[in-house]
């Protein structure tokens, strides 16, 4: 009788005659509801959208990296950071929630999402002092072995939250005064470096009790004349970091203090005052040892967030520019790590993501988009895995 009642009410509302409905059952099977299954090992592109006009509702659009067709969305909320490291299938997010959406009390968390089906897995509460910032990789970094997650804080006093991912809890909050950004060592899970306002890098060894002291390196850069972008890329044991004036700093952070391995003067001797620009101006293909950079011409003081006109390929061993190609007005760049790498750029004007297949070795470095897709409202970071 319950069903009879339900059916009657439904039919009264929707104007379906019972006879027809019964007929339907004989003739066709109702379609199933459920979820799409993402094929295992799908290479994914992540377009991170801070959604500035709705800043509490940031999100990351996940796309099939080959076709740029949508796979799903991960909510990254209020100026949340995301990191999609190789070596795990997890996706790390550090973000803030307020009890009344745009007001109320603030609660910060590290959140873990599945890289297989994009579902929420778990959350770990952290102290409410993380840097609520535009999306920069260096503000959320795992240790090389994924045992620790490091979160850059700013109140505006700066410090680094240390999360023990096995214990599922925050174990420390270590000051990195005058410094910003996290660059984990490649070998020691408890060692991180950070860029400092006096031109040094600080190195912190996290002790078992979650404390640590920062040890300064020699002066490595000039923050007034050649500031280093906090958005860099790990290359083997080194970090590769572009600078405002058009140089690439290769820095080793595995020692007790950081050391400058190399400084490549990319723009030197090139006409047009070319400089890197955007929010994530550099990506490195690890095996090939090539850095790709978003470059704009007529660079001046203050132009360091200008979108790209060209993408340059820089051989990090040969220390020279090996290719220049026109580019969409990119503000963020990444590269896939396979044998046939592709570059992915965020077009800051159209808020689109663009895929460029990297020409094979020996061929001209000419980039043509092989696919484009919407990247969100105000995307400022791009990752591929």
């Amino acid at each position: 009788m319950r069903l009879g009642l339900i059916a009657a009410v439904l039919l009264a509302s929707a104007a379906i005659a019972p006879a027809h409905a019964q007929q339907a059952q004989g003739e066709l099977q109702p379609e199933e509801f459920g979820n799409v299954k993402i094929p295992p090992d799908t290479e994914m592109l992540f377009s991170v959208d801070l959604a500035l006009n709705h800043v509490v509702d940031g999100r990351t659009y996940v796309l099939d990296a080959k076709t740029l067709k949508p796979l799903g969305i991960i909510g990254t909320s209020f100026l949340g950071m995301i990191n999609v490291p190789n070596g795990t299938k997890d996706i790390y997010v550090a973000t803030s929630h307020q009890t009344r959406t745009t007001r109320g009390e603030r609660f910060d968390f590290v959140e873990i999402y599945s890289g297989e089906d994009l579902t929420f897995k778990e959350e770990i509460p952290i102290s409410n002092n993380r840097a609520q910032a535009l999306n920069y990789r260096a503000l959320l970094q795992p240790s090389a072995d994924f045992k620790y997650l490091y979160v850059q804080n700013a109140t505006p006093a700066t410090s680094v939250t240390v999360v023990d991912m096995a214990a599922k809890k925050q174990i420390g909050d270590i000051p990195n005064p005058g410094c910003y950004g996290i660059f984990p060592a490649s070998k020691t899970a408890t060692r991180i470096a950070t860029l400092c306002g006096d031109g040094t890098l600080g190195t912190i060894d996290v002790k078992a009790d979650g404390t640590g002291e920062m040890k300064a390196s020699e002066a490595i850069f000039d923050p007034d004349k050649d500031a280093i972008f906090t958005s860099g890329y790990r290359w083997g044991e080194h970090w590769v970091l572009p600078s405002y004036a058009g140089n690439i700093y290769i820095i080793n952070v595995d020692g007790e203090t950081a050391t400058l391995i190399d400084k490549i003067e990319v723009s030197k001797g090139v006409d047009g005052d070319w400089r890197p620009g955007g929010y994530q101006p550099l990506a490195v293909h690890d095996k090939n040892g090539v850095a790709y950079m978003l470059m704009h011409s007529n660079g001046t003081e203050g132009s360091h967030k200008n979108p790209a006109e060209e993408i340059w390929a820089v051989d990090l061993k040969e220390k020279k520019v090996v290719g220049r190609s026109k580019s969409v007005p990119g503000i963020a760049l990444t590269v896939s790590q396979g044998d046939s790498p592709a570059l992915f750029a965020t077009d800051g004007l159209k808020a689109e993501v663009v895929r460029y297949d990297v020409p094979a070795a020996g061929k001209d470095f000419v980039l043509e988009p092989s696919a484009t897709a919407p990247g969100g409202a105000t995307p400022d970071q791009i990752e591929v895995r």
Binding site: I6, A15, I16, A21, Q25, P30, E31, G75
Partner: protein, 179 residues
Amino acid sequence: MSGLIDKLFGAIDRAAEKGSRQMAHRLGRRSFLSFVGKAAVGGAIMPMLPFDRAGGGTARAAEEKTDQECEYWRYCALDGFLCTCCGGTVNLCPSNAQVSSVTWVGTCQNPADSKEYLISYNDCCGVASCGKCLCNFNLRERPGYRMAVHNDINWCMANTPGTYHCTVAAVVGLGSSNG
């Protein structure tokens, strides 16, 4: 009949039973999100009206339309983001969004066989709004006092979390209309 309806609407009963009241009319179902535009991509509304075709809001569906277009025949009473533009399919939610436990219905004519089909519009829930392929057709749509055919409400209402993400449109039977 009972098997079909049971399958279709079993979930809504379970959902309603969680609440304090249980009424026959709790069957009401439908996904909200009526809005004028039919396309919103990357945060920019591109205003294209449902009535900018012959036939006004009646969604005289063209056979050649794909399921990523508002005019696809099944969408004659759909109001929301097409899941086909969000990582889902015409009847499956994206991998991380939960299908709504309650739903609204429409009756749409398939131009392929000129038959009327009963369509269940389920919202996919618990993920930030998809923001793509916003569609709004209202054939035989009615205000909330006819809840089963009302589409200006969040049909993720009985899910936890209940954030609206996108909408699927599944054929669940043959129907006849009196609209």
